[in-house]
Amino acid sequence: MLKYIAKRLISMVPVLIGVTFLVFAIMHFTPGDPATLLLGEEAPPAEVERMRERMGLNDPFLVQYGNFLFGLLRLDMGLSLTTGRPVFNEITNRLPATIRLAAAAILVAIFIGVTAGIIASTKQYTIFDGGAMFIALLGVSMPNFWLGLMMILLFSVFWNNTFGYVLFPSSGFDTWRHLVMPAVVLGTAHAAFITRITRSSMLEVLRQDYIRTARSKGLSSRVVIYIHALRNALMPVVTMAGLRFGVLLGGSVVTEQIFAIPGMGRLLVESVRSQNYTVVQGIILTYAIIFSLVNLAVDLLYAAIDPRIKVQYK
């Protein structure tokens, strides 16, 4: 098992190098001069030139890329062009908010998704099934920002006008109450995927012979569904939830913007806008690492669910 993990971790290295190269090349060849942006539109050209030199922007592309890789080995991703702080600190400053939001959102998504999926599959072709599937479709189709604004109108504005206090604050990230609306907004979008996959996977499992055997043994349908069927139906659900969690850890640009959450998504947008290329590189690299790790975690979870797979991890 440990050997397997080590193998997987080593195989991440070429992937990450590829990612850094791509990102570095894209940022390098994007029009616009970071030195001009840093100094503002009124800066005299001589000063801009001096700044370019200081930032190493006049070096050849490969030299710049080499310096970047060399820095990475020491966890040095350079300095943010707008704040002058190390990129590493910028990212670690924003990660907690994003992790917190992602964890809350995936809980919401799994809770809604698995529950609705089970209901839909066990009551196939009834009004419950139709209802659950309709809500799932609605969840996927509904834009985040729209649901976010509607919830703000209801729980912040309307609630305040009617009851004289705010149930859930519309922006900021201080207490658990700040977390509810963004988590639900993000969670519902991802819940829809989980609902669908739970339903189809459950339906497949429920048709298996061993389920019929279990039923014919006289087991209660609760035991059949939750113990015998669900566990075997969970594999694709875990994959899906894991991938969704990875996506969520990337930070949500729209949700973070609406609810003023100081997470990675907002940092990325701000950095792209100001061509803060050192921070953009750092964030994309972090995403790549997170995604690879989440994938690995999902694979390991398989083993926990299905002992047959564990045997293969050598």
């Binding site: 539109e41 305040n160 604050p169 900021g172």
Partner: protein, 510 residues
């Protein structure tokens, strides 16, 4: 029950993540806490590290310059009590005594010299260095602890307004020496508020500085929250999450204005929006074509459609709040016949096609669309090209453009700042003269205005230059910006400042 164990473990992991990131902490409420919403977080709390207004607004509560701006754009004493021009290139400043920095150290002339040296140090690379580029830093002379002589390389009349700029605020020498590169997170100034806590990307909490020389502030704490979305800022204001919100958007103006507990302040900002031409590109090298376009535009329609209450028709070549503004500048009224005649004279009776370049910004897009529509009446066929901001500055700096839309913020409020970078031929291209305008007479007037110390004379030079700019239709002024601030009715003594850096020293909460 492996299944159950797995579920419990996973749940614990996720809940652990929630706890681990500190979500379930309870925040104590401070009774005298004034909360302000800003559209972005500060990039740094070191005034010599930034050039953006979100950072400067917060820093203005924590730092001071030798002099500062008044709400009516005059200059008043701050850390300097008084000053005297001892010759046409040297000002002697008499510093306030007994002023304390937030770290308890006393403010002296050493700090002034240190701050300016640091700002101008090429190695340090401050984005604000150009603000004091005219100061002859090697010959600054400390007479005693409370007297300092600041010479300029050439006679420079506007020195005081440049010293009042946020980039010229004084930092504590001992503070910088103690914290080094981390000074931006450990700021030490002399202002009425000092840093308590900064959650980057989210909020900056400032405490009242009890030893402030101007007397302690009215509130105990001042909090700047970063809320990027305009609608969210208004909702927070409405629901009591913030007391003051800058940058109320056009769609929310009525909502704030009609709210029983909110007051809307609309004020003239110092920014002027214009439509520029590349004078080196045909057909815009012909003044008749530029005049024709000026006659073809309906400014009231443009302002109404694009800005609504958040703009006024521009009334000249510099923002009308700048003291040397020439109110008699000829503005081309809408006159289509005249416009067509000029087009015919220039040989373009059948019109031509051209490109309007803009950066990716909703207001500019709307501007370009209205202008494009109005130009159709001269058979000028326009296509709108949208660029990302960095690429846009690059492209217009190189002169690859025909028509472009831009704005100029003379944050010092001085006519030199408002005109020299934009219209002097030495500044062609990315230094500001993006229309590549070249008129020796204007150059001469701008140079005279820069060195003349008699204010009436200065005004005369700048006003004459503005009239020439109008004759030449260097560009077409479109709108002066107005900004809207929403304030809760429990807030007392709030006075908006045209620079956008509204001060909170005297602001109270009922």
């Amino acid at each position: 029950m492996k299944n159950a164990r797995f579920t419990i473990l996973t749940t614990l992991l996720i809940v652990g993540l929630l706890f681990g990131t500190g979500i379930f902490t309870i925040e104590a409420q401070n009774p005298k806490q004034l909360i302000v919403s800003n559209f972005a977080d500060a990039n740094s709390l070191d005034p010599q590290m930034v050039s953006d207004t979100a950072s400067f607004w917060i820093q203005n509560q924590m730092y001071e310059g030798l002099v500062r701006r008044t709400p009516d754009m005059g200059v008043e004493p701050a850390l300097a009590e008084d000053w005297e021009f001892i010759d046409d290139r040297t000002v002697e400043f008499y510093l306030r005594q007994g002023v304390k920095f937030h770290n308890g150290d006393e403010f002296t002339a050493e700090d002034v010299l240190f701050s300016y040296q640091r700002l101008l140090d090429p190695e340090f690379g401050s984005p604000g260095a150009s603000r004091l580029a005219m100061v002859d830093i090697d010959n600054v002379e400390i007479v005693d602890d409370y007297t300092i002589r600041i010479p300029t390389k050439e006679p420079f009349a506007a020195i005081l307004t440049y010293l009042a700029h946020s980039a010229s605020m004084i930092v504590s020498k001992s503070g910088v020496e103690e914290h080094g590169d981390a000074f931006g997170e450990n700021p030490v100034g002399t202002g009425p508020f000092k840093l308590n806590n900064w959650r980057q990307g989210d909020q900056v909490v400032l405490d009242r500085f009890d030893d402030y020389w101007g007397g302690p502030a009215q509130v105990d704490q001042l909090v700047f929250r970063a809320i990027p979305e305009g609608t969210s800022r208004t909702i927070e204001l409405e629901t009591g999450g913030v007391h003051v919100s800058r940058g109320i958007e056009r769609v929310d103006l009525d909502r704030v204005d009609n709210h029983p507990n909110l007051v809307l302040h609309l004020y003239e900002a110092l920014r002027i929006n214009y439509m520029g031409f590349n004078h080196e590109a045909e057909p815009f090298n012909d003044v008749r074509v530029r005049q024709a376009i000026a006659y073809a535009l309906d400014h009231h329609e443009i302002v109404q459609a694009v800005y609504g209450p958040l703009g006024g028709p521009a009334s000249g070549y510099i923002n009308s709040n700048i003291w040397a503004f020439n109110p008699d500048t000829y503005l081309y009224p809408r006159d289509l016949d005249q416009a067509k005649e000029l087009m015919a004279e220039a040989g373009y009776a059948d019109g031509f096609s051209t490109k309007i370049a803009i950066n990716d910004d909703a207001t500019r897009r709307a501007l370009a669309e209205v202008v494009s529509y109005q130009l159709e009446q001269l058979n000028i066929d326009t296509s709108i090209e949208v660029y990302e901001w960095g690429a846009y500055l690059d492209m217009t700096g190189r002169g690859d453009h025909e028509i472009y839309m831009l704005a100029w913020l003379a944050s010092t409020g001085d006519p030199h700042h408002a005109m020299h970078p934009l219209f002097h031929s030495a500044n062609k291209g990315s230094a500001g003269n993006r229309q590549f305008y070249d008129n020796p007479k204007v150059d001469e007037l701008l140079e005279k205005g820069m060195v003349e110390t008699d204010m009436d004379q200065r005004m005369a030079f700048y006003q004459e230059a503005q009239q020439i700019l109008s004759d030449d239709v260097v560009w077409i002024p479109l709108a002066d910006d107005r900004e809207a601030v929403g304030v809760h009715s429990s807030v007392t003594n709030f006075v908006p400042c045209p620079s956008g850096y509204h001060m909170f020293h005297n602001v109270g909460l009922e």
